[in-house]
Symmetry: C2
Subunit: 260 residues, 2 copies
């Protein structure tokens, strides 16, 4: 049996989680990263640079929790940083099919691979007229953009422990970058990033929370259990207006997860 | 590096979780089971027959979630099935120090080992006059008991997949046994069992839920995230009166878990 292994630094050790792989559907390397699609016990898995990104089993939980709790009625124009798999844009289109959505993902190969091998997540969402895929570096895009968005969503690969000095990803979690993001945000707008597991990425989550607090007047953190990540996944929202977190808490309603 | 490995059947495969072990504190075999106490990243771990039972890192979350959400004001006399580590009895004593608590655990060696190696969980609770440890088979104890309890808590080792025909543990999850438990329950009383992870023990949880529904007029299921189990742990309550689940949902309050 082949496994996909997640190694997670936690306190003074490393937990390993071994997911059995039933079949490899795609393995390749883009200009930016290793891309792997496998069949496993949570359905299909997309794995980038060895780190699990999404599964067909529960990507809806993940993406809904990213886009909906801080969405405000009246929002029109949304920017998604990352999100080239289409899942976040799709969930937004369910909230309001007329939203103007820009998805800025550096790696077109992720989109191609998801389109071909995980169409149940891709859902052909970028063929819609008001959902635009822009293959650019999210850092440069925000720096050069002169308009305004109502909402900015960080659907990026995780902040990386090991690259403290400045990986291409980590810069998108910096105070400077978030100030740049704030510059292109309407005054009642909100920025929401997914930031990792409450337990398994604890230090990173706290670090990013504190970065948000440096940039925004109001910061909220919320979470939802993502089965395939085996953790309560955290989302951090920043705004200069008070943030209301919508949606129902589900920890006391596991009956839904069990189909009872 | 040595690991404690949890192998969890899930859908059509097995997930392995590998917890690094820093030090073995105790390893032995009682008449009933293998007992292991180790130092790991979640503090000390108690492992019975190769299955993680509790960690010092989060046993309070587990035990509080077992004893408090279905506790009703006015309850006086409580029976704990299993619970020889003292953790559940201790959490009950915090709710009301005058409760009359009987803990029926078959294996005195578990208590001895926890007393010596995990005193921060044991807390010398059985030296209190109104908390009684009874080293007997919980099956026989309930069958032969003639009094009444206000609350019965199942703090047992998990139902076992592989022993479909009748392991010593599985019988305590049977319709016949729960009818016996109901016989010694006051009419407004409640039975609450911990039953496993919402994801990782899904089939068992549903099975036990359905067993409770055969026995009790009202059945509720609730859950709480237990970090060291990497899952939302489920608790099932049965009663012939409507059950109110107390306590606060915590899924939207991860800030507490993060110490923010």
């Amino acid at each position: 049996m082949e496994y996909h292994i997640e190694k997670i630094r936690y306190r003074n050790g490393v937990i390993e989680i071994r997911y059995p792989i039933h079949k490899i559907l795609f393995r390749g390397r883009s200009r930016y990263q290793d891309i792997l699609v496998v069949e496993s016990i949570f359905g299909k898995m997309l794995i980038l640079d060895g780190v699990l990104q999404l599964t067909t089993y529960d990507e809806e939980i993940y993406h809904k929790a990213l886009v909906s709790p801080t969405f405000k009625k009246g929002f029109k124009k949304i920017l998604i940083l990352g999100g080239g798999d289409g899942g976040a844009a799709y969930q937004l289109s369910l909230i309001d099919p007329d939203l103007d959505i820009d998805v800025v993902d550096i790696d077109p190969m992720v989109t191609e691979v998801v389109k071909k091998y995980i169409p149940e997540v891709y859902r052909d969402v970028f063929s819609l007229e008001n959902i635009n895929l822009i293959n650019r570096d999210a850092f440069e895009y925000v720096r050069e953009y002169n308009g305004k968005y109502d909402m900015v969503l960080g659907d990026l690969t995780d902040y990386r422990y090991e690259d403290q000095i400045g990986s291409d990803v980590n810069i998108l979690y910096s105070i400077d970058y978030l100030n740049d993001v704030k510059r292109i945000l309407n005054s009642d707008g909100v920025v929401t990033y997914h930031v990792g597991g409450v337990i398994l990425d604890r230090e990173n989550v706290i670090k990013i929370y504190n970065i948000f607090r440096e940039v925004f007047k109001y910061v909220r953190i919320y979470g939802v259990y993502i089965p395939s990540f085996l953790d309560i996944w955290c989302y951090i929202s920043g705004s200069d207006n008070p943030i209301k977190i919508g949606g129902e808490p589900i920890i006391y309603d596991v009956s839904q997860l069990l189909g009872l």
